[in-house]
Symmetry: C2
Subunit: 257 residues, 2 copies
Amino acid sequence: MTADRSTGAHDSDRSTTVLKLGGSLITEKDRAETVDEGALGAAAEAVADHGGRLAVVHGGGSFGHPYAEAAGISSTVGSHDVPAVMAVHEAMKRLNAAVLAALHDRDVPALPVHPFSAAARDADGALTYPLDAVATMLDEGFTPVLHGDGVVHAGEGVSVLSGDELVARLGTGLDADRIGLCSTVPGVLDEEGEVIPVVSSFADVADAVGASESTDVTGGMAGKVRSLLAVEATAFVFGPAELSAFLAGEDVGTRIE
Amino acid sequence: MTADRSTGAHDSDRSTTVLKLGGSLITEKDRAETVDEGALGAAAEAVADHGGRLAVVHGGGSFGHPYAEAAGISSTVGSHDVPAVMAVHEAMKRLNAAVLAALHDRDVPALPVHPFSAAARDADGALTYPLDAVATMLDEGFTPVLHGDGVVHAGEGVSVLSGDELVARLGTGLDADRIGLCSTVPGVLDEEGEVIPVVSSFADVADAVGASESTDVTGGMAGKVRSLLAVEATAFVFGPAELSAFLAGEDVGTRIE
């Protein structure tokens, strides 16, 4: 496949979309380093049909989380143990290669971007992530594919940079119009398990999602909602059945604004 | 191995060294994707003995150049052909993994840095390469290991970012004190094949090195001399026998200032 700057949606329509494919969607979360080929293939197919100006981020699932837990690292706690942090980074690069292969099989001009090579946190944990490479890839008609990763962290060694944090950074840094979080759940759920159609403030969902913060090394639904509320772009949280509709510009799942 | 911020030369001595290991040194240039394990091991041993604040860059040798030539890309001419540019990037990541393994075997707290994930060229070919990750790795006691790579290039797709260009960028961006280019030649050679001890301007060596510009996809000795003259730090061009002496702070090979 060849990136083509002269045709396609990215020239006639400069709007930028950031899409996250959840780690729980594209991997089998209970089997170490196992890709869910069916789910990944379906997602790649939807991306191939879209063809616009799109940055993709994927989570870690059964590739990232077990190694991060073994290393004892999170977005706030790091490690200087090189084999432990290399295990996280290398596993995420293996998953990234699988995602790229699925996209290349469907002629998406996808290029890998490893955030560990570019990002850093200061001693307060604040993230600096320059997006020169990502933005120029989009301008050239490529589809950059980023992933949750390690990140060097002042005073901590290497900590975790989650896919959700990357989505927020890309949303702001690329001046994105729409953000999509595609995972195994159909949206942000209320206490009865129903999809909440619109979330405008964290208070709207605090009772329903507050408890999920501790269930995931990179923050559960509460963290997703908080970070998406802080971004200018309109964000949607939805399941795989809605991916094509989201990419076509429709409102799906939960709208966070 | 564990990066240790509390001890070691990088705390008592904040001076920064940038070391390039030439592709022709660490690979067998005439055999596709073949590491010269003896030369790489000896270089890794010297780096392990040093222990200071050091950023390493390696060239492509038989991993990078054949793919770059096949893709028809150079530092000024790019390509939008995804498989062709992926072949360059993936081969360079394989060589980077071999370099990291040699360093890890000797307890160097080395971390991989893939420039393709961070750098970009504008339409004039000017390089932007933010060094937040590299600088924070050094501050945390790690040894970042970069490599010649692809780089997304406005209007061109993906072009080549050579190890020599990276060395110049790191020298300036990290405010380095010393730069070393360790390759298979013992220095910049005059027309009789003797090492020129000191080079202060391109005119000193134009007759001797002028012709080499066209022999290498990433620029030969002429390009190295030009880029090193533009950097504040004192640079040395030397062969593998001088690597330990260079890291110990001695003047070796050709001094470029």
